[in-house]
């Protein structure tokens, strides 16, 4: 609830910097890998799990099939190598949207050298814009580059319709790949319950790559609620 006279800026403005404030305020941190990183000449597949809700749902617990290669603390980024395959998984938790371009640049070697890239994003179903009156608790859509994936891994979904748009690292990677005439796909799950682990298709993809995923059960919202305090 806003107070009378209070200036309430729409949600879309939250990513804005203050252009009116005098003086330099470029406080975006320089992103650096925690350790030295060697990037192979060719990578078969890069999977990007973009955002807190995806990374919370698909937790890569300690296992033999993946190895944590590197991290970037400022971007909550963890890069894993799938041991028996020439494939990598990049997990991004909470990050500042203004850092999206910087993160894509940080991943640029991987973005340029991967044969295929699949990014996954989760958004609340209320963000899905449609004139349809039918209610669906889970809507899966995708955006792909003009160049098709060499292997779609069975992840074929309807195109995301206008006027819906996606932003963030996954969107940046898709844009860069399109500009490089390389293949990539960005899959978005619009879900009623963001904590839901309803992502069977992505579970299936990871299992095909011999990765076991811990599905976190949906937490009780009562715990987070002020109602019972």
């Amino acid at each position: 609830m806003s107070l009378f006279g209070e200036v309430v800026e729409p949600g879309t403005r939250t990513a804005w910097e203050d252009w009116d404030d005098a003086g330099p305020q470029h406080d975006i941190p320089e992103l650096k890998w925690n350790n030295a990183l060697e990037v192979p000449d060719v990578i078969d597949l890069l999977i990007i799990l973009d955002g807190k809700y995806v990374s919370d749902t698909l937790q890569l617990h300690s296992q033999d099939s993946v190895e944590l290669l590197n991290t970037v603390k400022e971007a909550s980024l963890s890069l894993y190598k799938i041991k028996l395959r020439n494939a990598y998984i990049c997990i991004l938790k909470d990050y500042n949207l203004l850092l999206s371009g910087e993160i894509v640049e940080l991943l640029r070697d991987f973005v340029e050298k991967s044969k295929d890239i699949i990014s996954v994003l989760k958004k609340p179903v209320a963000d899905y814009q449609t004139s349809s009156l039918a209610y669906q608790p889970c809507i899966i859509r995708s955006l792909t580059t003009t160049v098709n994936l060499t292997n779609s891994y069975g992840l074929e979904f309807p195109k995301l319709e206008q006027p819906n748009i996606l932003s963030g690292v996954g969107a940046g990677v898709l844009t860069l790949r399109e500009h490089l005439s390389l293949s990539a796909s960005l899959i978005v799950y619009y879900l009623e319950y963001m904590e839901s682990s309803q992502m069977e298709e992505i579970h299936g993809l990871l299992q095909k790559l011999d990765i076991s995923v811990a599905s976190k059960p949906a937490p009780s919202s009562i715990i987070n609620s002020n109602l019972y305090i």
């Binding site: 252009w19 999206s100 371009g101 955006l143 319709e161 748009i165 932003s167 898709l174 844009t175």
Partner: protein, 248 residues
């Protein structure tokens, strides 16, 4: 940093000599961007190029001007209307300040190399910054070299009132930065802005196009301009989807 701005030209055959480049600044109410959308949609402009840059928050979707298209559309795209010698750089996300100068210089350099004649920046400023309430909501600033002096006088435009030593348009985003870059690079530039508030800014966009038409005639002067303008497909559901039926 320049090497990180990646241009993809979709059409390379056009000679852009003497074209006018329109650049909307991401500003209060997004009036410049909405006005650019109207111009692109109404003139049926072709996509000339798209730009990948870390200076912008990445955004992707399908073509906003064609509901049935599955072509990708990204944060920054350049459109061309050869019939009017007009270019529009449409921006769909804010610039990141840290890299803004490098990106804007790159855009100006690219088009200066193609011998465009001038740049027009469309932007907006906070309504509460307007000091003389009975005057027109439009203001302009221009370089000394502007080619539009006659049209500015014809349109009765009011000059920007500079309160401080340094040029500033509050709420106007990167407009002043781009204007200064044009000055440095000796490229004629006009910056047109409208005082407005956040909300439904579609009427502001129509007024902006109407004012722009006085400077650069694009549409039939004999007919009502509002009736001629075509809203892009992406404007549907601008204020959200219909309420779910389950609530009734």
């Amino acid at each position: 940093m320049d090497s990180k701005h990646h241009w993809k030209w979709h059409i390379t055959t056009y000679d852009l000599t003497n074209y006018t480049l329109v650049v909307p600044s991401v500003a209060v109410g997004n009036v410049g961007q909405l006005a650019s959308d109207l111009i692109i949609s109404t003139l049926g402009m072709e996509k000339l190029a798209s730009i990948y840059t870390p200076a912008q928050i990445p955004v992707v979707g399908c073509d906003p001007y064609d509901t049935f298209s599955t072509t990708l559309s990204t944060s920054c795209e350049v459109y061309v209307a050869t019939s009017h010698d007009l270019l529009v750089v449409q921006l769909r996300a804010p610039l990141v300040q840290k890299y803004a100068r490098s990106f804007l210089e790159n855009v100006v350099d690219q088009f200066q190399q193609k011998h465009i004649k001038d740049i027009i920046i469309l932007t907006s400023s906070y309504a509460h910054e307007k000091k003389h309430i009975m005057t027109s909501p439009f203001r302009y600033i221009s370089t000394d070299t502007t080619l539009l002096q006659e049209q500015i006088e014809g349109a009765n435009l009011t000059l920007h009132e500079q309160q401080e030593e340094d040029l500033r348009i509050f709420g106007g985003g990167f407009a002043v930065l781009l204007f200064k870059i044009c000055q440095e690079k000796m490229l004629p530039c006009l910056c047109l802005y409208k005082y407005c508030s956040e909300g439904d800014n579609i009427p502001d966009a129509y007024e902006m196009v109407n004012k722009f038409q006085r400077l650069v005639p694009l549409f039939d002067r004999e007919k009502d301009i509002v009736a001629q303008l075509i809203q892009p497909a992406s404007w549907k559901l601008l204020f959200g989807r219909p309420p779910p039926q389950e609530i009734y």
